[in-house]
């Protein structure tokens, strides 16, 4: 994926989470290219972005389970 594609994603309003993530990749890559980060720092930051996806997935899981249990309680009260 080129930086241009990332800029396009960062500018999108319909997917705020993707725009935020793309903006982060751009900031990290620009700092690496400009000498603000060395290679090991750059690679570590990219690993952190992968970890953010893992955290997002776990958070989504908890929220979905909470919504399901809440729905079951609500139905149980009606029945």
């Amino acid at each position: 994926m080129s930086l241009q594609t990332l800029y396009e994603i960062a500018g999108r309003d319909d997917r705020p989470w993707a725009a935020t993530r793309a903006a982060m990749v751009i900031a990290i890559t620009e700092q690496f290219q400009g000498g603000g980060l060395d290679r090991s720092e750059y690679e570590e930051m990219l690993r952190d972005l992968v970890r953010m996806d893992q955290l997002d997935a776990e958070a989504d899981d908890i929220e979905l389970k909470t919504a399901l249990v809440t729905a079951v309680y609500a139905i149980a009260k009606v029945v």
């Binding site: 930051m45 690993r47 952190d48 953010m52 899981d61 908890i62």
Partner: protein, 133 residues
């Protein structure tokens, strides 16, 4: 004999149902976990990249360790919040190892980017932890 077999079958089926059902039930609200995850957010928000990084990262590391130990001690139902905070612990551990290395020269740009990533992580984690009932 048939009756015993029938009772055993029903009990075993209930056991399977309980195991299957437990994977759909999240951990419940906990005052201490909720307070600690907000403490973490506050500590991350207040990271000052012009000041020495090691004591600041060490504090985040300790808070995450507290959260892990508390959740583990609370029981197996807490697996979801343990998995949730694991990526944050890894991000922090990498940072701590780097700033603890002998001769490390602090890089404010690296610190600011790390702060940004951890702010996102802690915001998302806090929303999930506080969203439970």
């Amino acid at each position: 004999m048939k009756r015993i077999f029938l009772i055993l079958s029903v009990l075993m089926l209930q056991g399977c149902a309980a195991v299957a059902l437990s994977s759909y039930i999240p951990s419940f609200w906990d005052d201490n976990q909720s307070a600690k995850i907000i403490d973490l957010r506050l500590t991350i928000e207040r990271i000052d990249c012009k000041a020495p990084q090691k004591p600041q990262v060490s504090r985040i590391r300790d808070d995450l360790e507290w959260f892990r130990l508390y959740s583990e001690s609370k029981g197996s139902r807490q697996q979801d919040v343990l998995k949730l905070t694991q990526p944050m612990a890894e991000t922090t551990e990498d940072w701590y190892k780097r700033v603890s290395a002998e001769g490390y020269k602090e890089n404010a740009i690296y610190c600011e980017l790390k702060k940004k990533v951890m702010t996102e992580q802690s915001t998302r984690a806090a929303k999930a932890v506080l969203g439970r009932f």
